[in-house]
């Protein structure tokens, strides 16, 4: 049950990443067309697409890890005998887990501080900074969980 919900969440985040990429293309095109033919573009489109790149990346990161889409270099690993390969996999996934967890902790602290201080982003769009900052700890925590899942599956 928990596992199914987890996988559904990751897949939904993957879709969201794709939809954001498509939305950036559509939005920037619309801005150009309006500016060229209507005289007036969409003033917030530039910064919205910048946020979009960040949102796409971190909604997509745990999903891409599950789909094994993050590039890795397996030339040395493939030359190892199976026992060494197993050790490499354990060490690699454990390190990945620790790195993601530490980063998630710091990202959470930053997002929390920003929320507690009530920091705002003042550009064309004005909104609380933590709306963006909150994604990073969530994404990195899911990445850490994904590394943990890989770790327990190593035989």
């Amino acid at each position: 049950m928990v596992s199914r919900a987890y996988h559904a969440l990751l897949s939904a985040f993957g879709w969201l990443a794709g939809l954001i990429a498509v939305a950036i293309g559509a939005g920037v095109s619309l801005d150009v067309l309006l500016r060229t033919f209507g005289g007036q573009g969409i003033p917030w489109m530039l910064e919205a697409s910048e946020y979009g790149l960040y949102l796409m990346t971190f909604f997509g990161a745990p999903w891409a890890l599950r789909e094994r889409a993050h590039v890795s270099i397996d030339i040395a690993v493939e030359a190892m005998p199976p026992p060494a390969r197993r050790v490499a996999a354990i060490v690699g996934d454990a390190l990945g887990l620790v790195i993601a967890a530490v980063l998630a902790f710091y990202a959470l602290r930053i997002a929390h501080d920003s929320w507690a201080r009530g920091s705002m982003i003042y550009k064309e769009l004005v909104f609380p900074d933590w709306w963006l900052a909150a994604l990073l700890p969530l994404s990195l925590a899911l990445v850490a969980i994904e590394f943990g899942r890989r770790l327990v599956r190593i035989r």
């Binding site: 993957g14 879709w15 990443a17 794709g18 939809l19 990429a21 498509v22 950036i24 293309g25 559509a26 939005g27 920037v28 095109s29 801005d31 150009v32 530039l46 910064e47 697409s49 910048e50 946020y51 790149l53 960040y54 796409m56 990346t57 997509g60 990161a61 999903w63 891409a64 890890l65 789909e67 889409a69 993050h70 590039v71 890795s72 270099i73 397996d74 030339i75 040395a76 690993v77 490499a88 996999a89 060490v91 690699g92 390190l95 990945g96 790195i99 993601a100 530490v102 980063l103 710091y106 990202a107 602290r109 930053i110 963006l132 990073l136």
Partner: protein
């Protein structure tokens, strides 16, 4: 800590983490974490590292990357690319090594519509390779042109990797994109000449086929219907940049929309094809941007540890000329390309190469293009060229050794092209010069 020790510590731990097969992005974040603790003041350093993550990638000039990838995926998954290759296939006639020539010409055209070397190679491999093998083409002359031409996608705009390189190296993005056109065409011409010459000398490499003589009009029609309209997308994207009307980001957005409209126009726009293109785009883009999000901290750490400055000073004390230093940098990059992926190569070398290039007073567009050419070549250099594995994926019964051997002559041709561009900079700088 002395700078050589810092350099060994940072790069050593990076290589160690990569070697045990960790996704490279976590190897970079691991080193960033280590470096932040040691060189950026511990707790505050790690906080800086996390803040750098979003500022590295929240950048409007990176917008073309997902959109260029999307253009290629859309062409691929809608089947428009296959139709275009078919049309080229009908057009090319009575040439030695005909299907290999189709791969080069078709691949170069597709390179002008797609920013993804992977999609390009997979498309050429899946459409042309079975036919070539059925006709008894020698593996070298069958797979080599596909591997070589697949890489041209990252030279001829749209090219996502060119955008990333320019952004990280602080080179004007429009200039580097436009600069890729001539080198890409030179590569294509070299491949073309080599195939014709080799197959003319040894016809057994590519057995000729008895094609029914069709009138020219009939052969031309599919090209006019399936290729020419698509090339107008290229004109929109590159023309907008060249004329200075649109930024690369805006051109890319229009190109992506045009790709969807073209698919609709050919009645090839399906929900499944669109979703497939969208999800593949997300996978590749997330991978690229996640690595890019580690770039700022990585270069800061190299600078703060004194490694950047130290290495540059000791290079200066060797009193080498610019030619030797540029050649040296390219050789280092070629060597790294045998083992590393393109993104890692950029992240590791740019913090050293760009200040050095500036010190030497090099034209950044020329130098950036030479780097991009080497990155392109390293897509096919054994043992870890990524396209070699894409080829293995479409030709499952071929051994890696055969694929390596097929890539060999085309790598040599690309090196010839690289030397040409190195000796005659105007080949690279002339076209972007028109921008100003």
């Amino acid at each position: 800590m002395s700078w050589p020790l810092a350099l060994v510590l940072l790069l050593g731990s990076l290589v160690a983490m990569m070697a045990i097969g960790m996704p490279v992005v976590f190897a970079f974040f691991g080193v960033n974490l280590l470096g932040a603790l040691v060189f950026l003041g511990g707790d505050a350093g790690v906080e800086q590292l996390v803040r750098n993550v979003s500022s590295s990638i929240s950048n409007f000039s990176l917008v073309p990357i997902p959109l260029f990838v999307f253009m290629g995926e859309m062409m691929f998954h809608s089947g428009m690319a296959h139709k275009a290759i078919d049309a080229v296939d009908r057009l090319i006639y009575r040439l030695p090594g005909r299907l290999s020539i189709v791969a080069v010409v078709g691949g170069t055209i597709f390179a002008a519509l797609s920013g993804s070397t992977m999609a390009n190679t997979a498309m050429l491999g899946s459409t042309l390779l079975p036919e070539m093998r059925r006709r008894g083409y020698h593996p070298t002359i069958a797979m080599g042109p596909i591997l070589g031409t697949g890489g041209i996608a990252m030279l001829i705009p749209p090219s996502g990797l060119a955008v990333l390189l320019a952004s990280l190296a602080k080179i004007p993005i429009a200039d580097l994109l436009i600069a890729g056109i001539v080198p890409g065409l030179i590569f294509a011409v070299l491949f073309f000449g080599y195939i014709v010459a080799r197959c003319a000398l040894d016809p057994s490499l590519a057995p000729s086929e008895a094609l029914a003589a069709a009138p020219l009009g009939e052969r031309l029609r599919p090209f006019l219907v399936y290729v020419l309209p698509l090339l107008s997308i290229f004109v929109v994207v590159v023309g907008g940049i060249l004329a200075g009307i649109a930024t690369p980001s805006e051109s890319a957005a229009l190109g992506a929309v045009a790709a969807v409209l073209a698919a609709a126009g050919y009645r090839r726009l399906t929900w499944q094809g669109f979703v497939k293109a969208m999800l593949e785009t997300a996978k590749i883009s997330v991978m690229i941007f996640f690595i890019a999000s580690a770039s700022l901290t990585f270069s800061q750490i190299l600078a703060f540890s004194g490694a950047t400055q130290g290495l540059l000073e000791s290079l200066r004390s060797l009193h080498l000329g610019p030619t030797q230093l540029v050649a040296g940098m390219l050789v280092i990059l070629l060597f790294m390309g045998c083992f590393l992926d393109q993104l890692s190569m950029m992240l590791i070398t740019l913090p050293f190469f760009m200040p050095l290039a500036q010190l030497l007073g090099l034209d950044p567009v020329w130098f950036g293009m030479l780097m991009l050419l080497v990155l392109e070549i390293s897509f096919t250099t054994p043992p870890f060229g990524m396209l070699l594995f894409v080829m293995k994926g479409v030709a499952t019964d071929v051994t890696m050794r055969d694929i390596y051997r097929a890539a060999g002559p085309f790598i040599a041709l690309e090196l010839v092209g690289l030397v040409l561009m190195f000796l005659f900079p105007p080949l690279v700088t002339w076209l972007p010069g028109l921008l100003h």
